[in-house]
């Protein structure tokens, strides 16, 4: 099942009198249980692609479908709501809120949804990521690798269909980076998510099912 699908999506920017094509017309899909990575030099447009898939901006033309829903055609407010339900973000500098403990990072989701917090469910998830002993720690007490694992827990906690990771290993040393990508890969399979990881580190792609290269706004599959 295709959880992410781009149909002839483009993105153009006006820069003075010039028009820059950050994303040339692109067809692209990620299936459930598929772990895809996008590599490319900085400025190649891979972050633009990720933000378009994540609905932070809309394509200039074409469509983005998330879970078979015409995501890119929703109103901004509905898109934000859908994003919160369907997409888990893992960002470069971790998307953790500094004044919440690991437990409260997860609890926030329940607060926003007005649902009840299930401690054993949270502990199970953190256990899978081997950080269940850090449940009452603040992000500032965690190491870089622990932070990213907490961020993965946060992204998985509300059971989205799509995981978008933007340079999740940028602040980690090689061992930690491999560990984090390994976890991401295993969780993708186990929970049947469609995961896209944007990275500039080609060594990490060995965990991925397919690798795409972004260059000058053109996305092509690496064989």
């Amino acid at each position: 099942m295709k959880l992410i699908e781009l149909k002839q999506a483009t993105k153009t920017f006006e820069d003075g009198r010039k028009t820059i094509e950050a994303l040339k017309p692109t067809d692209f899909a990620v299936e459930a249980g598929e772990f895809v990575s996008i590599i490319g030099p900085s400025g190649s447009g891979k972050s633009t692609l990720l933000t378009i898939i994540g609905g932070l901006q809309t394509p200039s033309s074409g469509q983005v479908l998330i879970n078979n829903d015409k995501f890119s055609e929703l109103e901004e407010k509905d898109r934000a709501k859908k994003r919160f339900e369907e997409i888990g973000f893992i960002l470069q500098a971790s998307n953790l809120i500094p004044f919440l403990t690991v437990k409260d990072q997860l609890k926030l989701v329940n607060k926003i949804w007005n649902s009840t917090f299930d401690l054993s469910q949270a502990k199970n998830l953190l256990g899978e990521l081997k950080i269940d002993d850090l449940i009452d720690k603040y992000p500032s007490d965690l190491s870089g690798g622990e932070k990213q694992r907490a961020a993965i827990a946060r992204a998985l906690y509300h059971d989205p269909s799509v995981i978008l990771a933007d340079e999740p290993t940028a602040s980690l040393d090689t061992d930690r980076a491999f560990e984090v990508v390994d976890i991401l890969s295993r969780e993708t399979k186990k929970k049947n998510k469609a995961t896209i990881m944007v990275t500039h580190d080609e060594r990490l792609t060995e965990y991925c099912d397919s690798v795409y290269v972004m260059k000058d706004g053109i996305l092509s599959k690496k064989s």
Binding site: G54, K81, E85, L91, F99, L100, L108
Partner: protein, 363 residues
């Protein structure tokens, strides 16, 4: 409120400092209100004590009771539910016995008839019976050390009065009131204006059912009837005091609210990259905005209530000479005003939250 509380708990020092500033400002506002109200009351307690609806003054007196003077007979030209004759004169009194300090006090004499309704209740000693007996406001006892049985002499006059009792809440123009009968009043007043044939009074105080002073009849054009509130507002200096303090307090409330608003605004700007990440995740501006407003409410409520408690505490330990008085209607109004104006200020920060572009969290 989840985020609001968690953040306050996490950054305790920062929020303690903000609350501290709010406490100090609200303390200042409340305390100043208490002083202003106390001072205003010292102008008028003796008048409020009458529970009167209107007052007749001499027509040409321009609402100034010190300039009002007319024969007591005019009492018969006035027809109200209840009437009371009143003579007012200022003087300086001093006890005849040896005292430690300079016990000269500016005071106002009220010449009244004991059987009329403006006769005060006695809280200590007895009511005046014979001529040259007086009943004084308790502040003379509490602040100036006067006692029942003291002989009082009046500056510039060869006249000795006997202090026979005390009453309370009797201040006029920030000076204590001494009540005496009409004939003693005539003697005191005569010193200034010379001996007169007929008894002179300053005012006729009236009560009328439902406060309807329109219904009061008069058959002389020498007197003018004023509503009691109008009379109070025209007491010398009273209005100027009330307006000055009122403006100061009003500005302080605004300044307090702006300070809280600015603090919250700066905090929101500082957090904007984190808020961008939250918005990128799909957390709505409405949720974040509610949290900002909730946090402001918590800070303002905590600060203002602490300021209020400090003020009430200070009120208890202040010496009697300080004209401080609590008025719970004012205190509650100012509490509500401070908190609601601060929360209104927080909406500027909400606007910032709405304008944060989640894209910047990714790039």
């Amino acid at each position: 409120m989840f985020l609001a509380w968690r953040e306050i708990r996490y950054s305790k020092t920062r929020f303690a400092l903000i609350i501290g500033v709010v406490v100090l400002i609200s303390y200042l506002v409340f305390f100043l209100t208490g002083l202003a109200y106390g001072l205003a009351q010292e102008n008028r307690t003796s008048i409020d004590k009458w529970e009167a609806d209107g007052i007749f003054l001499a027509e040409e007196s321009n609402t100034n009771i010190n300039m009002s003077m007319f024969p007591k007979d005019l009492l018969e030209e006035v027809n109200a539910d209840e009437t009371a004759s009143l003579g007012v004169v200022s003087s300086v009194i001093e006890p005849n016995r040896e005292t430690d300090e300079d016990a000269k006090v500016n005071a106002t004499f009220f010449g009244i008839s004991a059987e009329e309704f403006i006769m005060p209740d006695i809280i200590d000693g007895d009511a005046f019976g014979e001529d040259r007996q007086v009943v004084a406001d308790r502040s003379l006892r509490d602040e100036d050390g006067y006692e029942v049985g003291d002989e009082l002499s009046l500056s510039g006059m060869d006249l000795t009065l006997e202090l026979v009792g005390f009453t309370e809440d009797s201040k006029f123009n920030v000076a204590p009131v001494l009540y005496t009968n009409h004939s003693t009043y005539q003697e005191i007043r005569a010193s200034g204006f010379g001996q007169r044939e007929d008894e002179i009074i300053s005012a006729i105080v009236v009560r009328q059912e439902n406060g309807d002073i329109e219904a009061v009849e008069q058959t002389t054009d020498e007197l003018a009837l004023y509503d009691i509130d109008e009379f109070i507002n025209n007491l010398p200096g009273y209005n100027a005091q009330v307006l000055t303090f009122g403006l100061m307090i009003g500005f302080l409330v605004l300044i307090a609210a702006m300070i809280i608003g600015i603090f919250i605004y700066v905090l929101t700007l500082q957090k904007s990259s984190m808020l961008g990440v939250m918005k990128a995740q799909g957390i709505s501006s409405a949720y974040i905005g509610r949290s900002v407003v909730g946090q402001t409410f918590i800070l303002a409520a905590f600060g203002v209530l602490t300021g209020l408690i400090l003020t009430l505490g200070t009120g208890l330990i202040l010496p009697n000479a300080v004209p401080y008085m609590n008025n719970f209607i004012f205190l509650i109004t100012i509490t509500g005003l401070l908190i609601s104006v601060a929360v209104t200020g927080a909406f500027f920060s909400v606007k910032t939250v709405v304008n944060i572009d989640p894209l910047e969290a990714i790039d």
